[in-house]
């Protein structure tokens, strides 16, 4: 059987950590357990997913986010800061994710504009008084 993602996660992060965690296993406090349960149900699992499964998926996701962020940082340091575009560049071949990110960014912009307009209106009202 191939090595579990938990083992590969320990291996990949022991490169970045100063203390080589070869003896004690990776101890990550569960970050996303409750939300992940709902999410997995939404994606196809049973109403209450098995806790081992949720823990495994969380390890996989955290490892994915970590690796993605590291790669984005490598790209970002070449121009100075870590920008959103670095993430978008790494996702460029995955069209569903890319389109979803574009939607999210567009929605954020809309919300910002709406809030600005709201603040401007508030000022007008208070200044008239």
């Amino acid at each position: 059987m191939s090595s579990t993602p938990g083992a590969t996660a320990a291996a990949s992060s022991s490169k970045s950590k100063a203390t080589g965690s070869s003896q004690a296993p990776e101890k990550r406090k569960p970050l996303f357990q409750k939300e992940l349960q709902h999410m997995m149900y939404g994606f196809g699992d049973e109403q209450n997913p098995l806790p081992e499964t949720v823990a495994l998926v969380e390890d996989i996701v955290v490892e994915y986010v970590t690796d993605l962020t590291h790669k984005a940082q490598e790209i970002g340091t070449k121009r100075g800061r870590l920008l959103v575009d670095d993430f978008l560049y790494l996702i460029r071949k995955d069209l569903p994710k890319l389109n979803r990110c574009r939607e999210l960014l567009a929605m954020q912009e809309e919300l910002k504009q709406a809030r600005k307009a709201f603040d401007v209106d508030e000022e007008k009202i208070t200044s008239l008084d």
């Binding site: 992940l36 098995l50 959103v84 995955d94 990110c101």
Partner: protein, 130 residues
């Protein structure tokens, strides 16, 4: 009903309306079971605060702004990524004629397949003889 997502480059306003209309047509015919599952799918998110902690610990950026676009983008990407092993695990279970809860062995097998398809980020993999 399969949609080839690779052939939809951008979504324009009229397309969006058509999409929304299509979705309404599909959603109106959901059973209760499907409806609750779809609700969970739409509503579930990974908490921004946890993602912020994770990003700050990885990047070393201190005091990340709460409406940082990077946060939203990463949360969106991570949510879609959760779907990939879960859906692949379901396919594996169908092939093996198993039903019920998804077990870690299914997730491991689907993770292995995703790696082969290159859908999982790999750092410094020495690509010899490929």
């Amino acid at each position: 009903m399969e949609v080839d997502l690779t052939q939809i480059p951008t979504v324009e306003a009229s397309d969006r309306e058509k999409k929304v209309a299509k979705m309404h047509a599909v959603i109106s015919q959901f059973t209760e079971d499907q409806m609750s599952r779809y609700e969970c799918f739409r509503r579930s998110t990974l908490h921004k605060s946890n993602m912020k902690k994770l990003l700050e610990s990885i990047t070393g950026i201190k005091n990340m702004n709460n409406d940082d676009p990077r946060l939203s983008v990463i949360s969106g990407i991570a949510k879609m990524f959760v779907g990939e092993p879960v859906e692949t695990a379901r396919l594996i279970m169908v092939k093996r004629n198993e039903a019920g809860h998804i077990r870690p062995c299914h997730i491991r097998e689907s993770y292995r397949r995703l790696k082969l398809q290159g859908k999982v980020i790999q750092r410094t993999v020495p690509r010899l003889f490929r």
